[in-house]
C-alpha cells in the first residue's frame, strides 16, 4: 500500500490499449482529464512548451484536444495543483506554463504517480514486444552500415549530461533498431511508444549507475545484431526494456530498487514523503 494511495487512482486512467473497448461504453470523463493532464504535463517536462508560454484560450484548447471545456477546466485545475500551470485573471490573463522550483526529478515523480502499476507493466510489455521483435529482425537483416546510427546513439547516450537528453537518445536507439529491422510498422510503433515513455524515462536515466547499465546493455544488443545472433539480440533488447520499466514500477510503488542497484532506496523514500498532492489530481 502506498501511504498516499486512493482506491480510485489505480484504475483511473484508461490506457490506450483500452481505447477500442471504451468506444461503446459511457464516456469516462476522469480518463479524459487524465489524458489531457498527462499530454500537457509531458510536453512541459520535455520542454516542448516553454516556461512562461501562454496556452491557447480554453475554448480553442478544448477544441484542439477534442475534449469539452468542462474536461479541460478539470485538467487545468490538476495542472495548477502540480504547479505546471498558472492562471491569471483580467486583462492579459490566461493560463501560462510555469516550471515550479521543485527539482525536475520531483516533478517527474509526480507525473509517474499518474500511471498505475498495471499501465506501466502493460506499457513495458508492449515496448518489449516491439523492441524484441525489432532486434531479432535487425540481426537477420543488418549489414555493418546499418549499425552506425545505433553505435553513435549509444556513445552520445553514455556521454549525455542531463536526463531529458538521455531519454531522447534512449528513444532514438529503439527507433533506429526498428529501422535496422527494415520495418516501417515497427518503427512507427517505436515512435508512438516514445510519446508515452519520453518523460518517464527521464526518471530512471537520472541515475548514473543505471545509465551505465543501459548503455552497456545497448552495446550488447548491437554486438548480438552484428553477430547475427537473432535470439540473443531479442532477449537482450527485451531485458533492457524490462529493466528500465521495472525500475519505473519500483519508483511508482515507492519500494526499494533492485538489489543490483541499491542506491534507488533513498529515492523511494523521498517519493513516499510527497503526500497527496504528489499525484496529478
Amino acid at each position: 500500500m502506498r501511504p498516499n494511495g486512493r482506491p480510485d487512482e489505480a484504475g483511473g486512467a484508461a490506457g490506450t490499449g483500452a481505447a477500442r473497448r471504451a468506444v461503446f461504453t459511457p464516456v469516462d470523463t476522469r480518463a479524459r482529464v487524465d489524458t489531457v493532464v498527462r499530454r500537457i504535463g509531458d510536453a512541459i517536462e520535455l520542454g516542448l512548451l516553454a516556461d512562461g508560454e501562454q496556452l491557447p484560450g480554453e475554448t480553442e484548447l478544448a477544441g484542439q484536444l477534442g475534449v469539452s471545456t468542462v474536461t479541460l477546466r478539470e485538467a487545468l485545475m490538476a495542472l495548477r495543483q502540480q504547479g505546471l500551470v498558472t492562471t491569471r485573471r483580467g486583462r492579459g490573463g490566461g493560463s501560462f506554463v510555469t516550471l515550479p522550483d521543485d527539482p525536475p526529478q520531483e516533478r517527474l515523480r509526480a507525473r509517474l504517480a499518474g500511471w498505475s502499476t498495471e499501465e506501466l507493466r502493460d506499457l513495458g510489455d508492449h515496448w518489449a514486444a516491439v523492441s524484441g521483435a525489432a532486434a531479432l529482425l535487425a540481426a537477420r537483416r543488418t549489414q555493418p552500415g546499418d549499425l552506425r546510427p545505433l553505435i553513435r546513439t549509444v556513445e552520445e547516450l553514455s556521454a549525455a549530461g542531463d536526463p531529458a537528453t538521455r531519454s531522447r537518445l534512449y528513444g532514438r536507439f529503439h527507433v533506429e533498431l526498428a529501422a535496422a529491422a527494415q520495418s516501417a510498422r515497427l518503427t512507427r510503433e517505436e515512435i508512438a511508444l516514445q510519446t508515452d515513455l519520453g518523460a518517464l524515462l527521464c526518471l530512471v536515466l537520472d541515475d548514473p549507475v543505471h545509465l551505465g547499465n543501459v548503455s552497456d546493455r545497448h552495446r550488447a544488443v548491437i554486438s548480438a545484431v552484428q553477430d547475427e545472433a537473432d535470439e540473443r539480440a531479442r532477449t537482450l533488447a527485451e531485458t533492457c526494456v524490462r529493466e528500465s520499466v521495472g525500475r519505473l514500477i519500483a519508483l511508482r510503488l515507492g519500494t526499494p530498487g533492485r538489489a543490483t542497484e541499491p542506491e534507488e532506496d533513498t529515492h523511494g523514500q523521498e517519493h513516499r514523503a510527497r503526500g497527496p498532492h504528489g499525484g496529478r489530481r
Partner: protein
C-alpha cells in the same frame, strides 16, 4: 497504399524485348524519372541561391519559398515521387542552423510541407547530416540512391531516396532529393521481373533487396556473400558466383540477381 503509380507500364511494349534487357531498361527508366525531378529541383535551387548570395548577403529560409511552385509541380507530375525538396547544409542559411525545404504527398493525396523540430535542445533527430542521402552526394560529388531504408525523419515509410549534390561556387551547400516509397518502386518494376523465366531480385550495393519475385528473398532482406559494390564498380557484364547470376542494371546502383542454371 495501393495508389496506382501509373508506372506498371504498357504491357505490350516490352513483350518482344529480351526479358533481362526489359528489367534493366525499366529499372533505369524508373530511377531516371525520379532523378529528373531531383535535377530540376537542383537547377531551381542553384539559380535561387546564386541570386540570394553576394555583397555581404546570404540566403535565408524565406528565399527558399520560391522553390515551392516547382516542388508542387514535380509531385503532381511524377506519381512515383512522394516527397521532394532541398536540404540545406548546416550553416548555409543566414537565419537558421539547418533547414529542409521538403514537401510530401500524404496518404490522403494532399501535399504538405515537412515541419521538423531541428532544435537539438528538443529533438534527437535535429542532425540530418548522417543519412546516406546526404553523405553520399557530399562525399562523392555525384548523384546517389539511398536505401531501401526506413525513413523515420520525413515520411516514416520504407523506400528509396534519390539525391544529388548542390554546389555554389564549387562549395557543397546541400542536396536536392526525392523519395520513392518501395511499394511504388515495386509496382514499377515487378511486371518486368515477373516476365523472367525464374525468380529474381534487385539488390543494392550492400546486398539489400529492393524488389523481388523470389518469396525466399523478399524486399528488405539481405543477400549475403557476393560483393555487389564490386560488381557495380566494374564493367556492366554478367558475373557468376555461388550459384547466382549477377547483372548490373546499366549505370544504376542496383544489381539483378537470378539463380544460375
Amino acid at each position: 497504399m495501393g495508389r496506382s503509380t501509373g508506372l506498371a507500364g504498357p504491357t505490350g511494349a516490352v513483350a518482344d524485348t529480351d526479358p533481362v534487357d526489359a528489367v534493366v531498361g525499366r529499372v533505369r527508366d524508373t530511377l531516371e524519372e525520379v532523378f529528373a525531378a531531383v535535377a530540376e529541383t537542383g537547377t531551381d535551387t542553384g539559380a535561387l541561391l546564386a541570386g540570394a548570395t553576394g555583397a555581404g548577403r546570404g540566403p535565408a529560409v524565406a528565399d527558399l519559398t520560391a522553390l515551392r511552385p516547382g516542388l508542387h509541380a514535380r509531385l503532381a507530375a511524377h506519381p512515383l515521387v512522394s516527397g521532394v525538396g532541398f536540404v540545406a547544409a548546416p550553416g548555409l542559411l543566414t537565419d537558421v542552423p539547418g533547414w529542409l525545404e521538403w514537401w510530401q504527398r500524404g496518404p490522403d493525396g494532399a501535399v504538405r510541407p515537412l515541419l521538423l523540430d531541428l532544435d537539438p535542445e528538443h529533438s534527437a533527430y535535429s542532425d540530418y547530416t548522417h543519412w546516406d542521402w546526404y553523405t553520399l552526394p557530399r562525399e562523392t560529388g555525384r548523384r546517389a540512391v539511398a536505401g531501401p531504408y526506413v525513413d523515420y525523419l520525413c515520411s516514416d515509410e520504407y523506400g528509396l531516396t534519390l539525391s544529388a549534390p548542390v554546389t555554389l561556387g564549387g562549395r557543397f551547400v546541400g542536396v536536392t532529393a526525392a523519395d520513392v516509397y518501395l511499394r511504388h518502386f515495386e509496382a514499377a518494376v515487378l511486371p518486368v521481373l515477373q516476365r523472367l523465366p525464374a525468380p529474381a531480385r534487385l539488390v543494392n550495393a550492400r546486398g539489400r533487396v529492393a524488389a523481388s519475385t523470389d518469396p525466399a528473398h523478399l524486399a528488405g532482406s539481405l543477400t549475403r556473400g557476393p560483393d555487389f559494390a564490386a560488381v557495380l564498380a566494374g564493367p556492366p557484364a554478367e558475373h557468376r558466383t555461388a550459384g547466382l547470376r549477377l547483372l548490373p542494371c546499366g549505370d544504376t546502383p542496383l544489381v539483378l540477381v537470378m539463380a544460375d542454371g
